[in-house]
Symmetry: C2
């Protein structure tokens, strides 16, 4: 069976996986990105690491999912976490250093393709993927094809505005979903709420045990019944619900898949997402929309990138 | 040259046009909808009217753009302006009464296709269309194909939420773009602003001359320098800008086309839309996005429906 190499490039780590033509992961590896060294050094280290992935020989093609805006020719156009990579032709560099043709896409776009091809969503040709990490990203499959847009920058669902004139987002705009949902948005909400309601359980935990305020800690506190933590979850879930509702109005998907680290709190967020969705969307359109937690988890981008490589090869053969 | 019949069904009127295979309108007609009589009576009247469109004979196929949610098989699933039409199989009824195969789509979806095929946007395979009528509708072409969704209900851009928990919309949800932009939203804004600032020019006009408060009157007053009317335009333009910005983040289109009656105030709205877009969207993605006024105007839905009929015929022949 043919084998593909999927590469997930983030600001901190590069995850690699060899994937068979059915999307099953054969081997995994991870190296540091060392973002400041630029893409050529990093991809040389990827090339060195790949033979160590036990069954990686005989990779037919590679796929890269990279943080940032990647244009249609494979050039990194904008990437706050990989500034030294901007303007670099990732596809060409990878071709040279890995020795195989390489497809390049945004990391969340690749993950969306992974969820479509291998995430248990067979036959769902209309799928919205939202990844809740530090920030919020995503990708959309419409009619069985990725929504790429004129310059390949489509699918930036984290920067859909949910509150006109709302919180300032990292991107400079106001009211983006990312400013409310995902790790950075939720920690901000928790800080705001704790500054208003003192002496609560979550606050005592942070102060007493000296633990850092993270979405994981908030989730843990919410599960133990802490009122502030629960309010943070409600706040995040409702804002996520508004985002999901708008995406349902525009794409009328069969399934909305939530991934990323924060999706570990899927069970805490889901009731608020569902309630908001029911309020915001015509019943005819909302009816039957499934909201699922990512099955691929941390593998989504690498598997999706490998599947993009596979499907690009198939297209080329036609 | 082959000829197609485009039918634009609204709550008040049915507009018809015969269109050649290049999308040029040969003849136009209009009849009343008389919504409560249902689709069979209406389409019988369409059939009777068509021979009167001078060169209508020899229509190869028909296309219908109908207000409401239309499913993939051509059944009206939800239509506030055509309640008696819900559950009716428009495609089948049209086939029987018009004697030709008929494609059926949502009216704004059809208009988006018209703008894509005949609106001077040749080669723009990524196009967002927003129609500002009483309400706000739209349609999206992504990669040269309509975004239809799992049940064919995609493209409902008017119900993207721009203000979480904001104004109640006709659809029952809160903060939809439609509650701020379009004729109904703008009149509401004007009323709110007039109730707060009495004795202004616009108010005197409405009271003195007894004219009805409409977007046209607001535009007229804004052009004469009325401060309240200008504030209404700013308010609408900024909310429209937030909607357009979110659609640009998700679709990365080459062009955003604004149609519908309110687009007569395109010049008054555009600066606010542009300013909001510049604030809300990454420069890499926003750069080069054109915002244009519809070239097809009132013909958009009928022409688009005719072009859907033409393109469905072409697909079938492949």
């Amino acid at each position: 069976m043919r084998r593909y190499l999927g590469i997930d490039i983030g600001g901190t780590n590069i995850k690699m996986a060899t994937v068979d033509s059915r999307g099953r992961v054969e081997a995994r590896g991870v190296i540091e990105t060392r973002a400041c060294e630029g893409p050529a050094v990093a991809l040389r280290r990827v090339a060195a690491a790949v033979p160590q992935l036990s069954r990686a020989r005989g990779v037919a093609r590679a796929g890269i999912g990279c943080a940032g805006l990647i244009d249609a020719s494979g050039v990194v156009r904008h990437s706050p976490n990989l500034p030294a990579w901007e303007g670099k032709h990732l596809g060409r560099i990878a071709r040279r250093l890995l020795g195989v043709d390489t497809s390049v896409a945004n990391d969340a776009t690749a993950a969306a393709w992974g969820e479509y091809r291998c995430g248990g969503n067979d036959g769902c040709d209309d799928l919205v993927f939202v990844t809740l990490g530090t920030g919020v990203g995503g990708g959309v499959v419409s009619g069985g094809r990725l929504v790429r847009g004129a310059r390949n920058f489509g699918g930036e669902v984290g920067h859909v505005c949910v509150v006109k004139g709302g919180r300032r987002c990292h991107c400079g705009a106001r009211g983006c979903a990312e400013a409310y949902v995902g790790s950075y948005g939720m920690v901000r909400t928790a800080r705001e709420m704790l500054s208003r309601r003192s002496g609560r359980y979550l606050a005592r935990w942070v102060k007493g045990e000296g633990r850092r305020l993270t979405p994981e800690l908030v989730a843990e506190a919410a599960r133990s019944g802490d009122a502030v933590a629960r309010a943070v979850m409600t706040h995040a879930g409702e804002h996520l619900g508004v985002l999901v509702a708008s995406l349902v109005q525009v794409f009328n998907p069969e399934v909305v898949v939530l991934g990323g680290g924060v999706s570990a709190s899927f069970d805490l967020l889901l009731p608020h997402v569902r309630r908001t969705l029911a309020r915001q969307v015509f019943s005819a359109s909302a009816r039957g929309v499934r909201i699922e937690r990512s099955l691929l988890g941390n593998d989504a981008t690498a598997v999706g990138a490998a599947m993009l490589a596979r499907d690009t090869e198939r297209e080329a053969k036609k």
